[in-house]
């Protein structure tokens, strides 16, 4: 039997958080796809990081809003991001509860306490809220300092002749190794903090004196639902609803048109109603015919007046005698 005090807190934290992340991931991903299809989520920069933080929500649920507002780092836009965080809360509580109970039985050989999922969730979320913005700030500062230092190092007269490819590789190795080491060390400290929380919870738990085979059987059966038919039906129905939502919201044509294939702005044609159109046309024709009649009358009268005027003019002015050639 192993005592929880013998296991390192980093190992405990990693064991629980890593498994909880993967346990909740498939369910969260289904919602992510629906929100993408419904155009509710956009990631502007640091795509991968933002996405990972979203999916690692047991520790980032409070940390991301703090980073976004306090450190002015924008990971994306859309109601989908906030909605996904909200939906992630029950998923994470369930995942942490399941993984935590298994871990207590298998590794500590202790009876998991009631409400383990909720306890682990809120404690991890609080640790994340304090620790992750700190990590974000420190790693960001270290990285930018390391980049400028590596750059100025390569600007030295001695190293100015280094070709571009080698220069990039050296610079990247210099600042990349510094920021990676800082990031890994800080993340391990954070994981170890969560591990200490789990260990302190385990310290008050009751030990089990059962054979290893029976313990394995117990935590294995914990993953099998009591009413398998009900769970299978619920999962299937949930899957069908999400699939229908996805296909209904999926854009039929590409949301990213290419320069070559821009479609002309087509105006919607008015609805054609034959009887109304005929009546309208008849009225218009009648109106136009009346206008033509009026114009013709006007023209005839004008010609008549012109004819009269010409006659009067010719009588008043005698024609000039023609010259002989």
């Amino acid at each position: 039997m192993s005592d929880e005090r013998d296991v390192s807190p980093t190992k405990i934290g990693l064991g629980v958080l890593w498994s909880a992340f993967w346990t909740g991931l498939p369910i969260k991903l289904a919602f992510v796809l629906v929100f993408f299809a419904m155009d509710l989520m956009h990631f502007e920069n640091r795509l991968g990081l933002g996405f990972l933080m979203l999916l690692a929500s047991p520790v980032t649920v409070f940390a991301v809003p703090i980073i976004t507002m306090g450190l002015e780092s924008h990971i994306g836009e859309g109601a989908g991001i906030a909605l996904l965080f909200l939906l992630s809360i029950p998923i994470d509580i369930w995942a942490l509860g399941l993984v935590g109970r298994t871990y207590f039985l298998e590794k500590f050989r202790k009876e998991p306490p009631e409400g383990l999922g909720v306890t682990l969730w809120w404690k991890s979320a609080v640790v994340g809220a304090v620790f992750l913005p700190l990590v974000w700030f420190i790693v960001g500062t270290v990285t930018s300092t390391a980049i400028s230092m590596a750059h100025s190092l390569m600007e030295l007269e001695l190293l100015k002749g280094v070709p571009v490819a080698e220069r990039i590789a050296v610079e990247l190795s210099l600042w990349g190794s510094v920021s990676t080491v800082v990031l890994i060390v800080l993340l391990l400290i954070g994981v170890s903090l969560v591990g200490r929380i789990i260990r302190s919870t385990a310290a008050t738990a009751r030990p089990i004196s059962d054979s290893y085979q029976n313990i394995v059987k117990r935590w294995d059966l914990m993953r099998v639902p009591a009413d398998q038919g009900l769970v299978l039906t619920s999962i299937t129905l949930g899957g069908v609803v999400l699939a229908v939502l996805f296909w209904a919201a999926l854009p039929v044509t590409t949301p990213h048109p290419h320069e070559c294939c821009k479609k002309p702005d087509a105006k919607a044609e008015p609805i054609f109603k034959p009887v109304e159109t005929l009546n309208k046309d008849e009225k218009m024709i009648a109106q136009l015919a009346m206008q033509i009649d009026a114009l013709e009358k006007q023209k005839a009268e004008a010609e008549k007046d012109k004819g009269k005027g010409k006659k009067a003019g010719s009588e008043a002015v005698a024609p000039a005698p023609k010259k002989k050639p």
């Binding site: 796809l33 993408f36 490819a165 990039i168 590789a169 190795s173 854009p251 044509t253 290419h258």
Partner: protein
């Protein structure tokens, strides 16, 4: 008299059909063999990559067939038909983007699968042949990526192929023949497209199906390697059948990969560049992202010149692949625990860091070129 009170003992039509097939092909025995395989140490998430790869391949085949309904493999129409798929075919953009990101997922999963086998020491006797066939499958997956990249016939496709074929040309003895065979002329054109298309949709899928079948057969013959840690008591206590736990894990793994590919199709859908021309213009040729590290490696001064290019493009990768192929025969130590194999662990970390470093370097290098 007792029999008359049991009306439900009569088999249904489905049961009759199953019994009919079972009598002829041994369906139940086959099912029992496939599902009741013992997994030493129980099911694990680390074992899902093989099934996930099979799933990705099936999805690639399905989306590829659907794309073929619209794609025209001629130099005159390849670009236009791809644009037609993206802009006019209902959900065509999604289908093409899924196919594109599916190929990336396949490469990632092959890397993950090979890494898992390497770190678990699962290539060691009696599993040498599984490893060798797996390496051949890795080559086929890379071939899929290389040949499929040309098909949209835009500038990116054209120049990536030109660079790739030029690298191939540097292979001693067979390089010139292979380059001429693939290009079918002095510059990539109709013959190149036809040949790449045939290789992509006929030769490689057939080869992959055959070798994947052989890989599975060899795996079932040798049995799973199991975990590299744990006492015999622990491993025995956790040993389980393939069904239902490992099957469930495989299904979840497939769902996660499927969702990730769909998410990528939304994030970065396929957008073509200008139509392929023999003049690169402002475009700086570069291969697909998983060949970027090699491309960046070739930019180093040490690999300049005819011999340097041969060294970087052919000799080094060739030697690395040869080392991987010889690995089960060189490493005769039965120890499988990666933490007790420091050379293997350090070697794996060095290779991964080098690939990451040169891939990111290639991305940064774009800024210098632009």
């Amino acid at each position: 008299m007792e029999h008359s009170s049991l009306p439900s003992s009569q088999p249904t039509v489905i049961e009759k059909v199953i019994a009919f097939v079972d009598e002829r092909v041994g369906l139940k025995q086959m099912q029992a063999k496939m599902l009741n395989e013992p997994v030493p140490g129980g099911s694990r998430w680390a074992y899902v990559f093989g099934s996930v790869l099979l799933f990705i391949f099936i999805m690639q085949a399905v989306t590829g067939i659907l794309l073929m309904f619209y794609y025209v493999p001629t130099a005159d129409h390849a670009y236009a038909s791809t644009q037609y798929i993206i802009h006019d075919v209902d959900y065509g953009w999604f289908l093409l983007s899924y196919h594109f990101w599916g190929s990336t997922a396949m490469v990632v999963c092959v890397f993950a699968h090979m890494s898992q086998v390497f770190l678990w020491g699962a290539y060691k006797p009696p599993r040498e042949m599984i490893w060798l066939v797996g390496l051949a499958l890795f080559g086929i997956v890379m071939g899929f990526g290389f040949t499929g990249y040309l098909l949209p016939w835009d500038q990116r496709a054209y120049w990536a192929t030109t660079v790739g074929v030029e690298i191939m040309d540097k292979t001693p003895l067979v390089g010139d023949f292979m380059a001429r065979f693939l290009k079918g002329g002095p510059t990539p054109g109709q013959m190149t497209l036809s040949r790449f298309f045939v290789i992509h949709v006929m030769i490689l899928p057939a080869a992959l199906m055959g070798l994947a079948g052989l890989h599975l057969f060899l795996f079932r013959a040798a049995g799973p390697a199991g975990p590299f840690r744990g006492t015999p008591e622990e491993i025995k206590a956790k040993t389980d059948f393939f069904f239902p736990r490992q099957v469930w894990k495989d299904i979840v793994g497939m769902a996660v990969v499927f969702a990730s590919i769909v998410a990528m199709a939304f994030w970065e859908p396929v957008v073509l560049l200008e139509e392929a021309t023999p003049d690169p213009g402002d475009y700086h040729p570069e291969p697909e992202w998983y060949f970027l590290f090699l491309f960046q490696l070739l930019r180093l001064k040490i690999f300049a010149g005819e011999f340097g290019q041969f060294l970087g493009a052919i000799a080094l990768p060739g030697a690395f692949m040869a080392l991987l192929a010889a690995l089960p025969f060189i490493d005769r130590d039965p120890e499988r625990n990666i933490f007790k194999r420091p050379v293997a662990l350090i070697g794996w970390i060095v290779v991964m860091v080098a690939i990451l470093l040169f891939t990111v370097s290639a991305i940064i290098n774009r800024e210098f070129l632009d």
